[in-house]
Protein backbone atom coordinates (compact mmCIF):
# COMPACT_ATOMS: atom_id res chain seq x y z
CA UNK A 1 0.00 0.00 0.00
CA UNK A 2 1.54 3.31 -1.08
CA UNK A 3 -0.14 5.47 1.51
CA UNK A 4 -2.57 4.54 4.27
CA UNK A 5 -4.39 6.88 6.62
CA UNK A 6 -5.91 5.59 9.83
CA UNK A 7 -7.83 6.96 12.79
CA UNK A 8 -8.02 5.07 16.08
CA UNK A 9 -10.77 6.42 18.32
CA UNK A 10 -12.20 5.48 21.67
CA UNK A 11 -12.46 6.70 25.22
CA UNK A 12 -9.50 8.38 26.89
CA UNK A 13 -7.66 5.64 28.78
CA UNK A 14 -8.46 2.78 26.39
CA UNK A 15 -5.02 3.08 24.87
CA UNK A 16 -5.95 4.05 21.32
CA UNK A 17 -3.26 6.74 21.22
CA UNK A 18 -0.64 4.33 22.53
CA UNK A 19 -1.68 1.81 19.87
CA UNK A 20 -1.34 4.50 17.21
CA UNK A 21 2.17 5.43 18.36
CA UNK A 22 3.21 1.76 18.42
CA UNK A 23 1.94 1.19 14.87
CA UNK A 24 3.62 4.30 13.45
CA UNK A 25 6.86 3.65 15.32
CA UNK A 26 6.96 0.07 14.02
CA UNK A 27 6.60 1.36 10.45
CA UNK A 28 9.34 3.99 10.83
CA UNK A 29 11.95 2.24 12.96
CA UNK A 30 11.63 -1.39 11.83
CA UNK A 31 10.28 -1.15 8.29
CA UNK A 32 12.06 1.98 7.07
CA UNK A 33 8.85 3.71 5.99
CA UNK A 34 7.57 7.19 6.67
CA UNK A 35 4.85 7.74 9.24
CA UNK A 36 3.22 10.55 11.13
CA UNK A 37 1.11 10.24 14.25
CA UNK A 38 -1.01 13.03 15.71
CA UNK A 39 -3.65 13.02 18.40
CA UNK A 40 -6.35 15.04 20.09
CA UNK A 41 -5.01 17.18 22.92
CA UNK A 42 -8.20 18.68 24.35
CA UNK A 43 -9.90 17.60 27.57
CA UNK A 44 -11.28 14.60 25.64
CA UNK A 45 -7.83 13.02 25.92
CA UNK A 46 -8.77 12.30 29.57
CA UNK A 47 -12.13 10.69 28.75
CA UNK A 48 -14.79 11.34 26.14
CA UNK A 49 -14.13 10.61 22.49
CA UNK A 50 -10.38 10.76 21.93
CA UNK A 51 -8.65 9.98 18.67
CA UNK A 52 -5.28 9.58 17.02
CA UNK A 53 -4.44 9.86 13.34
CA UNK A 54 -1.72 7.86 11.62
CA UNK A 55 -0.34 8.20 8.10
CA UNK A 56 2.00 5.50 6.81
CA UNK A 57 3.60 6.04 3.44
CA UNK A 58 6.54 5.02 1.26
CA UNK A 59 7.04 8.62 0.17
CA UNK A 60 7.46 11.79 2.18
CA UNK A 61 4.42 13.01 4.11
CA UNK A 62 3.81 16.76 4.18
CA UNK A 63 0.23 17.42 5.33
CA UNK A 64 0.25 15.64 8.71
CA UNK A 65 -3.46 15.39 9.54
CA UNK A 66 -5.86 12.59 8.64
CA UNK A 67 -9.00 13.85 6.94
CA UNK A 68 -10.52 10.80 5.26
CA UNK A 69 -9.11 7.66 6.85
CA UNK A 70 -8.83 4.42 4.87
CA UNK A 71 -9.16 2.65 8.21
CA UNK A 72 -11.29 3.88 11.12
CA UNK A 73 -11.40 2.13 14.47
CA UNK A 74 -14.12 3.03 17.00
CA UNK A 75 -13.94 1.43 20.42
CA UNK A 76 -16.87 3.29 22.01
CA UNK A 77 -20.32 4.39 20.94
CA UNK A 78 -19.41 8.02 21.54
CA UNK A 79 -16.36 7.81 19.30
CA UNK A 80 -18.40 5.98 16.65
CA UNK A 81 -21.06 8.68 16.70
CA UNK A 82 -18.43 11.40 16.49
CA UNK A 83 -16.12 9.98 13.84
CA UNK A 84 -17.93 7.42 11.65
CA UNK A 85 -18.87 9.97 8.99
CA UNK A 86 -15.26 10.97 8.25
CA UNK A 87 -14.29 7.60 6.76
CA UNK A 88 -13.14 7.49 3.17
CA UNK A 89 -15.81 5.86 0.98
CA UNK A 90 -15.11 2.14 0.83
CA UNK A 91 -12.80 2.32 3.85
CA UNK A 92 -12.51 -0.22 6.60
CA UNK A 93 -14.67 0.57 9.65
CA UNK A 94 -13.68 -1.52 12.66
CA UNK A 95 -15.89 -1.45 15.75
CA UNK A 96 -16.10 -3.42 18.98
CA UNK A 97 -19.20 -5.59 19.35
CA UNK A 98 -19.63 -4.92 23.03
CA UNK A 99 -19.36 -1.15 22.99
CA UNK A 100 -20.69 -0.04 19.62
CA UNK A 101 -24.11 -0.33 17.96
CA UNK A 102 -23.50 0.36 14.27
CA UNK A 103 -26.90 1.74 13.45
CA UNK A 104 -26.07 4.25 10.75
CA UNK A 105 -25.46 3.45 7.15
CA UNK A 106 -22.03 4.50 5.94
CA UNK A 107 -20.28 3.81 2.67
CA UNK A 108 -17.63 1.60 4.25
CA UNK A 109 -16.73 -2.03 4.82
CA UNK A 110 -17.96 -2.59 8.39
CA UNK A 111 -16.12 -5.09 10.57
CA UNK A 112 -17.78 -5.63 13.92
CA UNK A 113 -15.26 -7.51 16.09
CA UNK A 114 -15.68 -9.08 19.56
CA UNK A 115 -12.39 -7.50 20.69
CA UNK A 116 -13.35 -6.83 24.29
CA UNK A 117 -15.14 -10.14 24.67
CA UNK A 118 -12.18 -12.11 23.32
CA UNK A 119 -9.62 -10.27 25.44
CA UNK A 120 -11.68 -10.80 28.61
CA UNK A 121 -12.30 -14.47 27.83
CA UNK A 122 -8.79 -15.45 26.77
CA UNK A 123 -6.65 -13.05 28.84
CA UNK A 124 -8.99 -11.55 31.44
CA UNK A 125 -7.36 -8.11 31.47
CA UNK A 126 -8.93 -5.23 29.52
CA UNK A 127 -5.60 -3.37 29.59
CA UNK A 128 -4.47 -5.14 26.38
CA UNK A 129 -7.63 -4.33 24.43
CA UNK A 130 -5.70 -1.75 22.41
CA UNK A 131 -3.02 -4.27 21.41
CA UNK A 132 -5.69 -6.78 20.37
CA UNK A 133 -7.28 -4.02 18.27
CA UNK A 134 -3.91 -3.22 16.74
CA UNK A 135 -3.50 -6.90 15.90
CA UNK A 136 -6.88 -6.92 14.16
CA UNK A 137 -5.92 -3.87 12.07
CA UNK A 138 -2.62 -5.45 11.08
CA UNK A 139 -4.31 -8.80 10.39
CA UNK A 140 -6.73 -7.14 8.01
CA UNK A 141 -4.41 -4.69 6.29
CA UNK A 142 -0.89 -6.19 6.51
CA UNK A 143 0.34 -2.63 7.08
CA UNK A 144 3.34 -3.76 9.10
CA UNK A 145 4.74 -7.11 10.21
CA UNK A 146 3.71 -8.51 13.59
CA UNK A 147 7.41 -8.82 14.49
CA UNK A 148 7.87 -5.07 14.04
CA UNK A 149 5.08 -4.39 16.52
CA UNK A 150 6.52 -6.91 18.96
CA UNK A 151 9.90 -5.18 18.74
CA UNK A 152 8.32 -1.84 19.65
CA UNK A 153 6.43 -3.49 22.52
CA UNK A 154 9.63 -5.06 23.85
CA UNK A 155 11.18 -1.63 23.99
CA UNK A 156 8.21 0.09 25.61
CA UNK A 157 6.82 -2.28 28.22
CA UNK A 158 8.21 -4.29 31.16
CA UNK A 159 9.15 -7.83 30.19
CA UNK A 160 6.66 -9.31 32.67
CA UNK A 161 3.82 -7.84 30.59
CA UNK A 162 5.23 -9.01 27.29
CA UNK A 163 3.53 -12.40 27.16
CA UNK A 164 0.09 -10.88 27.78
CA UNK A 165 0.63 -8.36 25.00
CA UNK A 166 1.96 -10.97 22.60
CA UNK A 167 -1.13 -13.07 23.21
CA UNK A 168 -3.45 -10.08 22.71
CA UNK A 169 -1.68 -9.20 19.45
CA UNK A 170 -2.01 -12.80 18.17
CA UNK A 171 -5.71 -12.92 19.07
CA UNK A 172 -6.25 -9.69 17.16
CA UNK A 173 -4.25 -10.77 14.13
CA UNK A 174 -6.17 -14.06 13.86
CA UNK A 175 -9.48 -12.25 14.18
CA UNK A 176 -8.40 -9.76 11.53
CA UNK A 177 -7.17 -12.39 9.09
CA UNK A 178 -10.47 -14.26 9.26
CA UNK A 179 -12.34 -11.12 8.32
CA UNK A 180 -9.83 -9.81 5.81
CA UNK A 181 -11.34 -11.58 2.83
Amino acid sequence: MEKCRLIFSGSGGQGVITAAIILAEAAVIYEGRNAIQSQSYGPEARGGATSSGIIISDSEIFFPKVNQPNVLVCLTQESYNKFHTVIRPGGLLITDTRFVQTSRKVDARPRDLPLHYTVMEKIGKPIVLNICMLGAVVGMTNLVKAESILKVLEKRIPSSFMEMNRKALDLGINMGKELAS
Binding site: A35, S38, Y41, F62, F63, P64
Partner: protein
Protein backbone atom coordinates in the same frame (compact mmCIF):
# COMPACT_ATOMS: atom_id res chain seq x y z
CA UNK B 1 17.86 -1.29 15.52
CA UNK B 2 19.60 1.92 14.61
CA UNK B 3 19.56 4.10 17.73
CA UNK B 4 20.00 7.19 15.59
CA UNK B 5 16.60 6.78 13.93
CA UNK B 6 13.88 7.90 16.29
CA UNK B 7 10.12 8.35 16.13
CA UNK B 8 9.44 11.39 18.28
CA UNK B 9 7.38 14.52 18.83
CA UNK B 10 8.73 17.83 17.53
CA UNK B 11 9.23 18.92 21.13
CA UNK B 12 11.47 15.89 21.69
CA UNK B 13 13.42 16.70 18.52
CA UNK B 14 14.05 20.13 20.03
CA UNK B 15 15.28 18.49 23.26
CA UNK B 16 17.62 16.13 21.41
CA UNK B 17 19.04 19.05 19.42
CA UNK B 18 19.55 21.21 22.50
CA UNK B 19 21.53 18.40 24.11
CA UNK B 20 23.49 17.90 20.88
CA UNK B 21 24.26 21.64 20.89
CA UNK B 22 25.67 21.40 24.41
CA UNK B 23 22.82 22.79 26.52
CA UNK B 24 24.05 23.21 30.11
CA UNK B 25 21.11 24.87 31.83
CA UNK B 26 17.34 24.89 31.37
CA UNK B 27 14.89 26.85 33.49
CA UNK B 28 11.23 26.79 32.59
CA UNK B 29 7.61 26.58 33.59
CA UNK B 30 5.70 23.90 31.68
CA UNK B 31 2.86 25.11 29.46
CA UNK B 32 0.89 23.41 26.70
CA UNK B 33 1.90 22.84 23.93
CA UNK B 34 5.57 23.12 24.95
CA UNK B 35 5.35 20.89 28.04
CA UNK B 36 7.19 17.90 26.55
CA UNK B 37 10.33 20.03 26.17
CA UNK B 38 10.51 20.58 29.93
CA UNK B 39 9.34 17.02 30.62
CA UNK B 40 12.05 15.36 28.54
CA UNK B 41 14.81 17.76 29.58
CA UNK B 42 14.01 17.12 33.25
CA UNK B 43 15.13 13.53 32.78
CA UNK B 44 17.72 13.95 30.00
CA UNK B 45 19.66 17.03 31.11
CA UNK B 46 20.81 15.99 34.62
CA UNK B 47 22.14 12.75 33.13
CA UNK B 48 24.33 14.81 30.79
CA UNK B 49 25.75 16.87 33.66
CA UNK B 50 23.42 19.80 33.00
CA UNK B 51 20.96 21.57 35.27
CA UNK B 52 17.17 21.54 35.00
CA UNK B 53 15.09 23.86 37.15
CA UNK B 54 11.33 24.19 37.16
CA UNK B 55 10.83 27.80 38.20
CA UNK B 56 7.81 29.44 39.81
CA UNK B 57 6.87 31.19 36.57
CA UNK B 58 8.13 32.33 33.19
CA UNK B 59 9.51 35.64 34.49
CA UNK B 60 11.82 33.79 36.84
CA UNK B 61 12.65 31.22 34.14
CA UNK B 62 13.89 33.90 31.77
CA UNK B 63 15.89 35.63 34.53
CA UNK B 64 17.45 32.32 35.57
CA UNK B 65 18.71 31.49 32.09
CA UNK B 66 20.15 35.00 31.71
CA UNK B 67 22.15 34.58 34.90
CA UNK B 68 23.27 31.08 33.98
CA UNK B 69 24.37 32.21 30.52
CA UNK B 70 26.48 35.02 31.98
CA UNK B 71 28.42 32.49 34.01
CA UNK B 72 29.39 30.66 30.82
CA UNK B 73 26.59 28.18 30.17
CA UNK B 74 24.55 27.40 27.09
CA UNK B 75 20.99 28.04 28.19
CA UNK B 76 17.43 27.59 27.00
CA UNK B 77 13.85 28.00 28.16
CA UNK B 78 10.63 26.81 26.50
CA UNK B 79 7.14 28.21 26.71
CA UNK B 80 4.02 29.18 24.78
CA UNK B 81 2.23 32.49 24.17
CA UNK B 82 1.17 33.40 27.75
CA UNK B 83 4.61 32.57 29.11
CA UNK B 84 6.33 34.32 26.22
CA UNK B 85 4.44 37.50 27.15
CA UNK B 86 5.77 37.26 30.71
CA UNK B 87 9.31 36.87 29.40
CA UNK B 88 9.30 40.06 27.35
CA UNK B 89 10.75 42.38 29.99
CA UNK B 90 13.81 40.27 30.72
CA UNK B 91 14.11 39.37 27.03
CA UNK B 92 14.80 43.08 26.55
CA UNK B 93 17.38 42.88 29.33
CA UNK B 94 19.14 40.02 27.53
CA UNK B 95 19.13 42.03 24.31
CA UNK B 96 20.54 45.11 26.09
CA UNK B 97 23.15 43.21 28.09
CA UNK B 98 23.95 41.03 25.04
CA UNK B 99 23.49 37.69 26.74
CA UNK B 100 23.24 34.59 24.51
CA UNK B 101 20.15 32.48 25.20
CA UNK B 102 17.54 30.42 23.35
CA UNK B 103 13.81 30.87 23.94
CA UNK B 104 11.52 28.27 22.39
CA UNK B 105 7.92 29.38 21.89
CA UNK B 106 5.64 26.52 20.83
CA UNK B 107 2.79 28.70 19.62
CA UNK B 108 -0.86 28.14 20.50
CA UNK B 109 -3.96 30.27 19.90
CA UNK B 110 -3.99 33.71 21.52
CA UNK B 111 -4.28 36.42 22.74
CA UNK B 112 -4.12 35.72 26.48
CA UNK B 113 -4.67 32.06 27.40
CA UNK B 114 -6.49 31.73 24.06
CA UNK B 115 -6.72 28.21 22.66
CA UNK B 116 -4.29 26.13 24.73
CA UNK B 117 -4.36 22.95 22.65
CA UNK B 118 -4.88 24.48 19.21
CA UNK B 119 -2.40 25.58 16.60
CA UNK B 120 -1.54 29.18 15.73
CA UNK B 121 1.35 31.26 14.46
CA UNK B 122 0.16 34.41 16.16
CA UNK B 123 3.36 35.22 18.08
CA UNK B 124 5.52 35.99 15.03
CA UNK B 125 5.14 39.75 15.43
CA UNK B 126 5.56 39.53 19.18
CA UNK B 127 8.91 37.81 18.69
CA UNK B 128 10.11 40.94 16.89
CA UNK B 129 8.41 43.73 18.87
CA UNK B 130 7.26 42.10 22.11
CA UNK B 131 9.83 43.87 24.22
CA UNK B 132 10.08 47.64 24.25
CA UNK B 133 12.64 49.96 22.78
CA UNK B 134 14.59 49.90 19.55
CA UNK B 135 16.29 46.56 19.14
CA UNK B 136 16.86 43.66 16.80
CA UNK B 137 16.20 39.97 17.36
CA UNK B 138 16.73 36.65 15.63
CA UNK B 139 13.70 34.37 15.27
CA UNK B 140 13.77 30.96 13.57
CA UNK B 141 11.09 28.47 12.65
CA UNK B 142 10.84 24.86 11.40
CA UNK B 143 8.27 22.69 9.64
CA UNK B 144 9.50 19.13 10.23
CA UNK B 145 11.42 17.29 12.91
CA UNK B 146 14.73 17.15 11.05
CA UNK B 147 14.51 20.92 10.64
CA UNK B 148 13.43 21.40 14.26
CA UNK B 149 16.68 19.64 15.14
CA UNK B 150 18.73 21.75 12.73
CA UNK B 151 17.11 25.07 13.68
CA UNK B 152 17.46 24.43 17.42
CA UNK B 153 21.20 24.03 16.88
CA UNK B 154 21.22 27.12 14.64
CA UNK B 155 19.52 29.00 17.47
CA UNK B 156 22.33 28.13 19.88
CA UNK B 157 24.98 28.91 17.25
CA UNK B 158 23.49 32.28 16.31
CA UNK B 159 23.00 33.21 19.98
CA UNK B 160 26.71 32.67 20.63
CA UNK B 161 27.85 34.29 17.37
CA UNK B 162 25.87 37.47 17.83
CA UNK B 163 25.61 37.55 21.66
CA UNK B 164 21.86 37.79 21.46
CA UNK B 165 18.69 35.99 22.52
CA UNK B 166 17.37 33.79 19.71
CA UNK B 167 13.71 32.84 19.56
CA UNK B 168 12.68 29.50 18.08
CA UNK B 169 9.06 29.76 16.96
CA UNK B 170 7.54 26.31 16.77
CA UNK B 171 3.81 25.62 16.81
CA UNK B 172 1.37 23.10 18.27
CA UNK B 173 1.27 20.90 15.16
CA UNK B 174 5.04 20.56 14.78
CA UNK B 175 5.57 20.35 18.55
CA UNK B 176 3.04 17.59 19.17
CA UNK B 177 3.02 15.39 16.08
CA UNK B 178 5.34 12.43 15.88
CA UNK B 179 7.55 11.66 12.89
CA UNK B 180 10.97 10.34 12.01
CA UNK B 181 14.10 12.05 13.30
CA UNK B 182 17.60 10.96 12.37
CA UNK B 183 20.03 12.15 15.04
CA UNK B 184 23.27 13.21 13.36
CA UNK B 185 26.62 11.84 14.48
CA UNK B 186 28.64 13.97 16.87
CA UNK B 187 30.55 16.55 14.88
CA UNK B 188 28.28 16.26 11.83
CA UNK B 189 26.67 19.63 12.57
CA UNK B 190 29.17 22.36 13.53
CA UNK B 191 28.65 23.97 16.92
CA UNK B 192 29.60 27.52 17.84
CA UNK B 193 31.13 27.74 21.29
CA UNK B 194 31.27 30.74 23.58
CA UNK B 195 33.84 33.32 22.49
CA UNK B 196 35.80 34.05 25.67
CA UNK B 197 38.17 36.94 26.21
CA UNK B 198 41.90 36.37 26.07
CA UNK B 199 42.44 39.22 28.54
CA UNK B 200 44.21 37.83 31.59
CA UNK B 201 42.76 38.04 35.09
CA UNK B 202 43.63 41.27 36.87
CA UNK B 203 43.98 43.10 33.56
CA UNK B 204 41.36 45.67 32.59
CA UNK B 205 38.63 43.82 30.60
CA UNK B 206 36.02 45.72 28.58
CA UNK B 207 32.91 43.51 28.40
CA UNK B 208 31.16 45.79 25.90
CA UNK B 209 34.02 46.79 23.63
CA UNK B 210 33.42 45.08 20.28
CA UNK B 211 36.35 43.62 18.38
CA UNK B 212 36.95 44.81 14.82
CA UNK B 213 34.62 42.09 13.51
CA UNK B 214 31.87 43.37 15.82
CA UNK B 215 31.93 40.38 18.19
CA UNK B 216 32.31 40.83 21.94
CA UNK B 217 34.40 38.23 23.77
CA UNK B 218 32.80 37.28 27.09
CA UNK B 219 34.19 36.53 30.52
CA UNK B 220 32.34 34.06 32.74
CA UNK B 221 30.64 36.22 35.36
CA UNK B 222 32.03 35.65 38.84
CA UNK B 223 35.27 34.36 37.32
CA UNK B 224 38.49 36.14 36.46
CA UNK B 225 37.16 39.61 35.74
CA UNK B 226 34.95 42.00 37.65
CA UNK B 227 32.51 43.89 35.49
CA UNK B 228 29.05 45.40 35.59
CA UNK B 229 25.93 44.18 33.77
CA UNK B 230 22.90 46.42 33.48
CA UNK B 231 19.71 47.01 31.53
CA UNK B 232 20.57 50.70 31.40
CA UNK B 233 22.41 52.22 28.46
CA UNK B 234 26.01 51.43 29.32
CA UNK B 235 29.58 52.14 28.29
CA UNK B 236 32.27 49.65 27.32
CA UNK B 237 32.81 48.73 30.97
CA UNK B 238 29.13 47.94 31.40
CA UNK B 239 28.46 50.93 33.65
CA UNK B 240 25.36 53.09 33.16
CA UNK B 241 25.83 56.14 30.98
CA UNK B 242 23.64 59.05 29.94
CA UNK B 243 26.13 60.24 27.38
CA UNK B 244 24.26 60.81 24.06
CA UNK B 245 27.18 59.50 22.02
CA UNK B 246 27.31 56.33 24.12
CA UNK B 247 23.52 55.87 23.85
CA UNK B 248 23.60 56.40 20.09
CA UNK B 249 26.56 54.07 19.64
CA UNK B 250 25.08 51.28 21.75
CA UNK B 251 21.68 51.31 20.03
CA UNK B 252 23.32 51.32 16.61
CA UNK B 253 25.51 48.43 17.68
CA UNK B 254 22.57 46.37 19.00
CA UNK B 255 20.60 46.80 15.79
CA UNK B 256 23.47 46.73 13.29
CA UNK B 257 25.05 43.54 14.61
CA UNK B 258 21.88 41.73 13.49
CA UNK B 259 20.69 43.68 10.45
CA UNK B 260 24.16 44.03 8.88
CA UNK B 261 24.28 40.23 8.86
CA UNK B 262 20.78 39.54 7.56
CA UNK B 263 22.21 37.37 4.75
CA UNK B 264 24.40 35.36 7.12
CA UNK B 265 21.42 34.77 9.39
CA UNK B 266 18.88 33.96 6.64
CA UNK B 267 17.85 30.27 6.52
CA UNK B 268 15.28 29.20 3.95
CA UNK B 269 14.28 26.41 1.58
CA UNK B 270 13.18 26.71 -2.02
CA UNK B 271 10.86 24.38 -3.93
CA UNK B 272 10.22 24.77 -7.68
CA UNK B 273 10.89 28.50 -7.66
CA UNK B 274 12.77 28.57 -11.00
CA UNK B 275 9.67 28.78 -13.18
CA UNK B 276 6.93 29.41 -10.61
CA UNK B 277 4.23 31.84 -11.70
CA UNK B 278 2.66 31.60 -8.25
CA UNK B 279 5.01 31.65 -5.28
CA UNK B 280 3.77 30.47 -1.90
CA UNK B 281 5.66 31.81 1.12
CA UNK B 282 5.24 29.96 4.38
CA UNK B 283 7.01 28.75 7.52
CA UNK B 284 6.49 26.34 10.40
CA UNK B 285 3.74 23.74 10.15
CA UNK B 286 1.72 25.70 7.58
CA UNK B 287 4.63 25.22 5.15
CA UNK B 288 3.75 21.50 5.21
CA UNK B 289 0.31 22.19 3.79
CA UNK B 290 1.80 24.60 1.27
CA UNK B 291 4.36 22.00 0.17
CA UNK B 292 1.67 19.31 -0.03
CA UNK B 293 -0.28 21.52 -2.42
CA UNK B 294 2.81 22.45 -4.45
CA UNK B 295 3.84 18.79 -4.94
CA UNK B 296 0.28 17.88 -5.83
CA UNK B 297 -0.30 20.67 -8.37
CA UNK B 298 3.16 20.28 -9.95
CA UNK B 299 2.13 16.76 -11.00
CA UNK B 300 -0.67 18.43 -12.96
CA UNK B 301 1.68 20.92 -14.56
CA UNK B 302 0.71 23.94 -12.47
CA UNK B 303 3.64 26.32 -12.03
CA UNK B 304 3.50 26.60 -8.28
CA UNK B 305 6.53 27.08 -6.03
CA UNK B 306 7.28 27.45 -2.34
CA UNK B 307 9.71 29.63 -0.43
CA UNK B 308 9.88 28.27 3.11
CA UNK B 309 11.32 30.83 5.51
CA UNK B 310 13.23 29.40 8.45
CA UNK B 311 14.64 32.75 9.53
CA UNK B 312 11.70 35.07 10.17
CA UNK B 313 13.61 37.90 11.89
CA UNK B 314 15.63 39.67 10.71
CA UNK B 315 13.29 39.41 7.73
CA UNK B 316 15.26 38.37 4.63
CA UNK B 317 13.59 41.01 2.49
CA UNK B 318 16.02 41.02 -0.44
CA UNK B 319 15.81 37.24 -0.79
CA UNK B 320 12.01 37.42 -0.79
CA UNK B 321 12.07 40.28 -3.31
CA UNK B 322 14.41 38.34 -5.59
CA UNK B 323 12.46 35.04 -5.47
CA UNK B 324 9.15 36.80 -6.11
CA UNK B 325 10.42 39.10 -8.88
CA UNK B 326 8.99 37.16 -11.79
CA UNK B 327 5.95 35.70 -10.01
CA UNK B 328 2.48 36.78 -11.06
CA UNK B 329 1.04 36.06 -7.62
CA UNK B 330 2.64 35.70 -4.21
CA UNK B 331 0.55 33.98 -1.54
CA UNK B 332 1.66 34.04 2.09
CA UNK B 333 0.40 30.99 3.97
CA UNK B 334 0.30 31.44 7.74
CA UNK B 335 -1.97 30.89 10.73
CA UNK B 336 -2.41 34.49 11.87
CA UNK B 337 -3.91 37.71 10.51
CA UNK B 338 -0.97 38.39 8.20
CA UNK B 339 2.10 39.02 10.33
CA UNK B 340 4.62 37.84 7.71
CA UNK B 341 2.24 38.85 4.90
CA UNK B 342 2.88 42.51 5.81
CA UNK B 343 6.65 42.00 5.76
CA UNK B 344 6.39 40.33 2.33
CA UNK B 345 4.26 43.20 1.00
CA UNK B 346 6.93 45.65 2.08
CA UNK B 347 9.69 43.53 0.54
CA UNK B 348 8.41 42.92 -3.00
CA UNK B 349 8.43 45.38 -5.89
CA UNK B 350 4.71 45.08 -6.54
CA UNK B 351 2.77 44.75 -3.23
CA UNK B 352 -0.51 44.42 -5.15
CA UNK B 353 0.35 40.87 -6.19
CA UNK B 354 0.73 39.63 -2.60
CA UNK B 355 -2.20 37.74 -1.06
CA UNK B 356 -2.85 36.05 2.26
CA UNK B 357 -4.05 32.47 2.76
CA UNK B 358 -4.62 32.05 6.47
CA UNK B 359 -6.63 30.39 9.20
CA UNK B 360 -7.15 31.86 12.66
CA UNK B 361 -9.68 29.44 14.15
CA UNK B 362 -7.28 27.04 15.83
CA UNK B 363 -7.72 24.52 13.00
CA UNK B 364 -4.64 23.51 11.04
CA UNK B 365 -4.65 25.07 7.57
CA UNK B 366 -5.21 22.48 4.83
CA UNK B 367 -3.96 22.30 1.23
CA UNK B 368 -7.62 22.77 0.21
CA UNK B 369 -7.81 26.05 2.16
CA UNK B 370 -4.81 27.35 0.20
CA UNK B 371 -6.16 25.98 -3.08
CA UNK B 372 -9.44 27.84 -2.53
CA UNK B 373 -7.58 31.13 -2.08
CA UNK B 374 -5.59 30.42 -5.26
CA UNK B 375 -8.83 29.91 -7.17
CA UNK B 376 -10.21 33.19 -5.86
CA UNK B 377 -7.05 35.09 -6.81
CA UNK B 378 -7.19 33.66 -10.32
CA UNK B 379 -10.82 34.62 -10.64
CA UNK B 380 -12.09 31.06 -10.70
CA UNK B 381 -14.31 31.24 -7.62
CA UNK B 382 -14.30 28.58 -4.95
Amino acid sequence: MNEKVRFVQGNEACVEAAIYAGLDFFAGYPITPSTEIAEHLSSRLPGKGGTFIQMEDEIASMCAIIGASLTGNKVMTATSGPGFSLMQESLGYAIMAEIPCVIVNVQRGGPSTGLPTSVSQGDVGQALWGTHGDHAIIALSASNHQDVFAMTIEAFNLAETYRTPVILLLDEVVGHMREKLIIPEDGEIPLVQRLRTSVKGGVDYHPYLPREDGRLPMSDFGGEHRYNVTGLIHDMWGFPSGNPAVAHGLLRHLVDKIWNNVHQIARYKEYYLDDASTVLISYGSSARSALHLVQNRRQRGERLGLLELQTLWPFPASIVRDRCASAKHVVVVEMNMGQIFKAVKMAVNDPGKVFLANRIDGVFITPTDIRNILRLIRGKGV
